[in-house]
């Protein structure tokens, strides 16, 4: 659902990551108690307009709402059933606005800028002896290995289908988990080969 960074030079790309995250927070806080449909609609149009720099690709981005479309339809249907369709519409607009805005932030912010922006939040970890760059590394690793695990799952599913005639099965969960563990061993080795998670410069934090 959440997009990855698309390089570009729009004003949103130039805007500091911290500012974008704070704006997202502020908009979330403001939008939630809001019930006025007109104001909500203006907000939604405002966010959608920020997609302008992406031109035609903007519509591709709007398709990212698809996975939550069912949930939204259900919510809205529920409100109609209760006879509170205006409230349902307000909920719908709020969620769409926030998802589009969060998507916009991740589209226009490089991962390491995003991490640098949130790193100060991890600083208290130093008290427990955890270097603050550790969580940042963890986030990067997750983003790196989600596509890898997806392609491994794809491979397992193909191999399973080739011999069973059926697609997808819960049976693939165990081999997928095993492969994930094997990969984590390899990546730990690769990280160690390049100096480990605390870097080579600061000798105090090693080992």
């Amino acid at each position: 659902m959440i997009a990855t960074y698309i390089p570009g030079a729009s004003w949103l790309h130039r805007c500091p990551a911290g500012l974008k995250l704070i704006a997202l927070l502020v908009v979330s806080i403001v939008v939630f108690p809001l019930t006025n449909l007109w104001m909500l609609t203006i907000g939604l149009i405002g966010v959608a307009a920020c997609y302008a720099p992406f031109g035609r690709d903007a519509f591709v981005q709007f398709k990212r709402l698809k996975p939550i479309a069912l949930m939204l339809a259900f919510l809205f249907g529920f409100h109609i059933y209760l006879g509170t369709w205006t409230e349902g519409l307000a909920v719908l607009i709020r969620i769409v606005t926030l998802v589009l805005m969060a998507n916009l932030v991740s589209l226009t912010t490089r991962l390491d800028d995003m991490i640098a922006a949130v790193e100060p939040l991890f600083r208290p970890l130093k008290l427990f002896g955890v270097p603050p760059q550790r969580p940042a590394l963890a986030i990067a690793l997750v983003l790196r290995f989600v596509p890898v695990l997806m392609s491994i799952h794809e491979g397992l599913a193909e191999s399973y289908q080739a011999r069973s005639g059926r697609r997808r099965s819960w049976r693939l969960i165990a081999p997928l988990a095993l492969q994930a563990l094997a990969i984590s061993d390899h990546v730990a080795e690769s990280l160690a080969a390049r100096g480990g998670s605390s870097g080579l410069a600061d000798t105090r934090m090693r080992r």
Binding site: A140, R144, V148, S151, S190, A192, L200, D202
Partner: protein, 259 residues
Amino acid sequence: MALWTKGRAAARECGLDPFRSTYAVLEGASLELNGQPVLKDITVSLKERRIGLVGLNGSGKSSFVRLLNALRLPTSGVVRIFGQPTPDCAADLPKHVGFVFQNPDHQAIFPTVEEEIAFGLTQLGRDRKSAREEARAFLARHGCAGLVERPISTLSEGQKQLICILAVLVMEPQVLILDEPFTSLDGLTALRLSQKIAGLPQKIVMVSHDLTTLAAFDRILWLEEGQVRMDGVPGDVLPAYAADLERRAATESWTGSSL
């Protein structure tokens, strides 16, 4: 910058001399993994610019090269890298001995190419911004300006392996170890990358099954069941190795358990 000099000072403290021409010395080095002997009493000195490692699966090639950057420590005997026994200088070795793994998907740590390259520089103590700039310049110098922003997962196999090699080279090690780096590549890509490797200033230790590429190396070690079966110039070792493969395939009967 201060941090970076401190790292350098530490390298000097452990007495490691990266300009020594004999970069690795193994003295009776043995390695056991889970109680199984994997390398047995190996004694060699490595100083040639390009050294190739051949041997059957399970003969201990990967374990051997892992001794050279302290990813594994010998169970008995000594491994000296640039004059220092590996347990003592293990923490500083990544700066001097780069390691390229067989599968790029097991090596790349970061989601995008630029971050992957910049990581090595931040490891050496550069700040994020200058690491990023240097990474871009480095990629451009190696003809990869177009890949800077690409997610690693969208690269071709050859591009992935090249990025993995560059991610190690950017740390400017004196020795580069490659463990079967071309197994997942097509012939042309493998040829191009091995030309690139041949042109590097680093000393190279490469595990490979590609005897044609190894023919141009300076020295070949042939490992068999954890020992050095033969050690010499490619002109001697490679034909002997190939003949042994032929002989064994023709004469030894085999079962599934011997593969």
